[in-house]
């Protein structure tokens, strides 16, 4: 799996959305993710990719595409 697929798989599992429905344009608002969901998601991503995401960086993340670009820049 490449990064995009992995991210989609994690988002799909954590936020209980079908992976097929996720695109890089999908925003957290669209899939009804609140701040607690995002905490869960960030912790899962940190674990999966072995990196650290700061609160400040989380604020910049609006779409799935943002996460993917961000992770690609870190790994």
């Amino acid at each position: 799996m490449n990064i995009e697929e992995k991210v989609k798989a994690i988002v799909s599992e954590q936020l209980e959305v079908e992976a097929d429905k996720l695109t890089t344009e999908t925003t957290f608002e669209e899939i009804d993710a609140d701040s607690l969901d995002i905490v869960e998601l960030v912790m899962a991503l940190e674990e999966e990719f072995d990196l650290e995401i700061s609160d400040h960086e989380i604020e910049e993340i609006k779409t799935l595409g943002n996460i993917i670009t961000f992770i690609e820049s870190k790994v």
């Binding site: 609140d34 607690l36 912790m43 609160d55």
Partner: protein
């Protein structure tokens, strides 16, 4: 201890801090290590918890005035909520207690459990910093905070009480509707919860039998601490 930390899957660095967090003063005194207990960590953890919860409430409920936020926070960081989180974590069996305290059922006492959870937050703060500590707190609080969104705070007191009483006395609490009053469309039910041979542990009233039983369970739960 090892198994507890493994179970939590926290990315911890300084293991000894968590050991200290689970050490009650009765154990430390018994071992002649007067400072090796969790009280100072609890002091710190209390403050971090308040901050994490305040921050969450501030941003999640922009329409709430200060008074309402304060009451919500008080409910969220109270002993009953913390003890419920401890039960969820199965923390009781990992507490290090002095012999007397252990024999007296200290591992099931809500106040001891709540203190240990706060101390764990203090340990997390020292070990991983505020940002990560905050996330761990929110993660542990997730079920409670999700309930809050739905408009009710605590999970089911009857279940909570049952878990406790079963662990401690090996019996199941029983409920009795002792009185009903008011006209049919505005009936009020009064319930009592009975535990083994100890008689009534709590009383409560409500608009349905279920609500009255919940209220009785809540009173009993607070009495146990």
């Amino acid at each position: 201890m090892k198994t507890f930390l493994e179970k939590l899957q926290w990315d911890i660095r300084e293991k000894s801090l968590y050991e200290q967090a689970l050490t009650h003063s009765s154990y430390a005194h018994e071992k002649g290590d007067g400072g090796g207990h969790n009280e100072r960590l609890e002091f710190l953890g209390d403050a971090v918890l308040q901050l994490a919860i305040s921050d969450y409430l501030y941003f999640s409920y922009p329409e709430f005035p200060e008074g309402r936020l304060t009451r919500l926070r008080a409910d969220l960081v109270c002993e009953a909520t913390l003890a419920a989180i401890a039960v969820e974590l199965g923390l009781g069996q990992f507490l290090r207690l002095g012999k007397g305290e252990a024999a007296g059922g200290g591992a099931n006492r809500p106040s001891l459990l709540a203190d240990a959870v706060e101390a764990l937050f203090g340990a997390l703060f020292l070990d991983l910093g505020l940002e990560k500590c905050r996330r761990h707190i929110l993660r542990l609080y997730q079920p409670v905070l999700k309930n809050l969104e739905k408009g009710y705070l605590h999970r089911d007191y009857k279940t909570l009480l049952q878990e406790f009483v079963q662990a401690r006395h090996g019996v199941t609490p029983e409920y009795e509707i002792v009185r009903e009053s008011g006209p049919d469309h505005e009936k009020v039910f009064f319930a009592e919860v009975l535990v083994g041979g100890r008689g009534s542990m709590g009383k409560g009233s409500g608009k349905s039998k279920k609500e009255a039983e919940q209220a009785a369970a809540k009173e009993a739960w607070f009495k146990l601490s």
